[in-house]
């Protein structure tokens, strides 16, 4: 801890770095957040950002269209590296989603007030990340129009999915995760949609928000059940989010490929998911609060706390790397030992070192109070961690597959233009959805901010 930092979590530090700026009332938080959607003119910056993102999304559409015409041969995958970018990107995106659920569900159960202003867009981020993630395994099947084969439906052939396969577990885990995240997000939105309905002036907006809010009127009897349902959803989403990346890690851990077949995968995948997810929340939150002047709602306290979570999960990930390394050597299994040598000295060694640099070494700056309170540093750090976590999945997928048991089965992998186009295209889709989201829905939960105003005014008494 550096000098000049007040004692940990004292009343002093809470006053210095509040979760909400001073002087807000129920009316003023409502005005400020709903104005972003209802009255503020759409800025030129929004249009520029949206256009860039939308063009990239167009690139994705072209890449997927070409894939459907030509087949997966346009990618760099081959035998033995059948997984390539598609699975690397799938795991990366789904991991990013996890922070949204962590913030909205686990921090809710732990009664952390600082979650309030970031949970809404973190949940939106989850949904959009899951949407991006879902694309990859779908198109990786080669014949995406046959993907319904993975769902248990009564087919004329009397055939059922292989429920013993981690790939089927994945289908259930990811689709459940997507559904529950959507429900959680929508339930949270209902009171805010009612606010937008009551405050919008134009008739079409009133009708659309009115239909979406389903006639919510803030009745105490409704709130009573609403709170039960919300708490239950939080309680359900918590084990769910842990299960999803566990199941994703099973895709690897159940296989016997060297470097994959380890019991440390589930916890270290979950930690890595939360790590990259918090990095992505920071990547979005920092420009968002700047662009819409939300510094009073997304305060330095939020950024500081997120940086701390990143540091903590980053250390768990580092522990995972260390034990992965140690157990490979300690096992004495020659294939595992060889894999470690390949990571350190093989053709993809630079990726491994870049991974260690991005995920383990760089985040150590976050021990410093000054660094955690420097917005520019946090933004750069969040991008570095995002890159690092992508490299981690690349290292896991590619190094293991290029160097398995028999030298005659060794291979090389390099992505093609279409691999990159699809990957960058999904980033475009993600950013496009984020841009649309902040324009048409409240990016911060208004109802929960009012609750926070009520609670903080009680604290002051």
């Amino acid at each position: 801890m550096s000098a000049g930092q007040p004692p940990f979590d004292s009343p002093e530090i809470r006053r210095l770095t509040p979760v909400i700026g001073p002087g807000y009332t129920y009316g003023s938080v409502t005005d400020k957040i709903s104005a972003i959607v209802l009255t503020r003119p759409t800025s030129l910056g929004w249009f520029i950002g949206f256009s860039i993102a939308f063009s990239l999304m167009g690139l994705m559409t072209v890449a997927i269209g070409w894939l459907i015409i030509k087949g997966v041969g346009i990618w760099g995958i081959n035998i033995p590296i059948g997984w390539g970018f598609a699975i690397v990107n799938f795991v990366w995106w789904i991991g990013i989603g996890h922070a949204g659920t962590l913030i909205s569900a686990i921090l809710f159960l732990l009664n952390q007030k600082w979650r309030t202003s970031i949970n809404r867009f973190a949940e939106a981020m989850t949904l959009f990340a899951v949407a991006c993630a879902g694309i990859f395994p779908l198109i990786h099947t080669g014949r995406p129009w046959m993907a319904f084969y993975m769902f248990p439906y009564p087919s004329t052939m009397g055939l059922w999915p292989q429920f013993r396969s981690p790939l089927i577990w994945d289908v259930f885990a990811v689709s459940t995760y997507g559904t529950v995240s959507l429900l959680f997000w929508f339930v949270g939105l209902i009171p805010d949609l009612a606010t937008l309905r009551d405050r919008s002036v134009q008739k079409p907006m009133k009708v659309i928000y009115g239909m979406l809010s389903m006639g919510w009127r803030g009745s105490a009897r409704h709130w009573h059940r609403y709170q039960s349902a919300y708490l239950l959803l939080a309680g359900l989403a918590t084990p769910l989010v842990l299960s999803v990346h566990t199941v994703v890690s099973f895709d690897f851990a159940i296989a016997i490929v060297p470097g994959w077949h380890t019991t440390i995968f589930p916890p270290y995948f979950v930690a890595g998911a939360i790590y990259s997810g918090f990095a992505m929340v920071l990547t979005i939150a920092i420009p968002l609060r700047k662009a819409y002047g939300l510094e009073d709602f997304i305060t330095m306290r939020h950024l500081d706390n997120m940086a701390k979570v990143m540091l903590a999960t980053g250390l768990i990930v580092a522990y995972g790397y260390f034990f992965e390394f140690f157990m490979s050597l300690y096992s004495g299994n020659k294939f595992d030992v060889f894999l470690v040598q390949q990571r350190l000295h093989g053709p993809y060694a630079p990726f491994y070192y870049a991974l260690i640099l991005c995920n383990i070494l760089t985040p150590q700056f976050l021990w410093s109070y000054k660094m955690r309170h420097n917005v520019a540093v946090l933004f750069i750090m969040s991008i570095v961690v995002n890159i690092g976590m992508w490299l981690e999945r690349f290292v896991i997928v590619v190094i293991s597959l290029t160097r398995d048991f028999v030298p005659s089965a060794w291979g090389r992998y390099s992505p093609t233009f279409w691999d990159w186009a699809t990957f960058i295209g999904t980033m475009g889709m993600f950013v496009t959805l984020i841009f649309l989201f902040v324009r048409v829905l409240p990016a911060i939960s208004i109802a929960e901010m009012r609750e926070l105003v009520a609670e903080t005014s009680e604290d002051d008494k």
Partner: protein, 180 residues
């Protein structure tokens, strides 16, 4: 009592959650039972003041979760061991540990869907129109004001008296709620 059939109730507006809870307590002390409170966020202590009991959402959620889990497990068992058994090197057909991930996911899915749709059904939502929306100032119920509505169904309801009673609780505004 003249226009009783056209009146849904009488509504009082309050500025703070404390005033709302105080008003609800007084209204209930005065013997009114058909009433509801409206707030822009869940107010702590309001359910107790209104005398709301435990609700049905948790039990619906539990049943949904059980249905998802039990149904999910036995579906996998049926598909893998009964209707499409594949013998791979004599391994057991009912390989139950391998069915657990999907069972877990379906438990969560069933519980979450039933919690949300159960909550909406018990709240009788979606309900696009409700008499309280006829009150012009009710748009503030979704931003910064708190309302109590004593409904005309209440046996003790009397338009003028009830309105006066709400006034005596320092309601900011008191308005009739028409039924159409």
């Amino acid at each position: 009592m003249l226009h009783r059939s056209h009146i849904y109730g009488v509504m009082g507006e309050f500025e703070t959650p404390e005033q709302l809870i105080h008003a609800v307590e007084k209204v209930r002390e005065a013997g009114y039972r058909r009433l509801d409170a409206y707030a822009p966020f869940p107010v702590e202590g309001l359910s107790e003041a209104l005398g709301l009991k435990r609700n049905m959402v948790p039990i619906i959620c539990l049943l949904g979760g059980l249905a998802g889990g039990v149904g999910g497990f036995f579906f996998q068992y049926w598909a893998s061991a009964i209707t499409y058994p594949i013998d791979i090197g004599g391994r057991p057909l009912n390989s139950w540990p391998a069915f657990i991930p999907v069972t877990f996911e379906l438990t969560v899915l069933g519980a979450a869907l039933s919690a949300v749709f159960g909550m909406l059904a018990l709240n009788k939502l979606p309900q696009p129109h409700h008499p309280v929306f006829n009150v012009h100032r009710f748009t503030h119920a979704s931003s910064d004001r708190f309302f109590v509505c004593i409904e005309a169904r209440d046996p003790q309801f009397h338009l003028a008296d009830t309105a006066r009673f709400l006034q005596s609780l320092h309601a900011h505004h008191v308005s009739e709620v028409s039924d159409d």
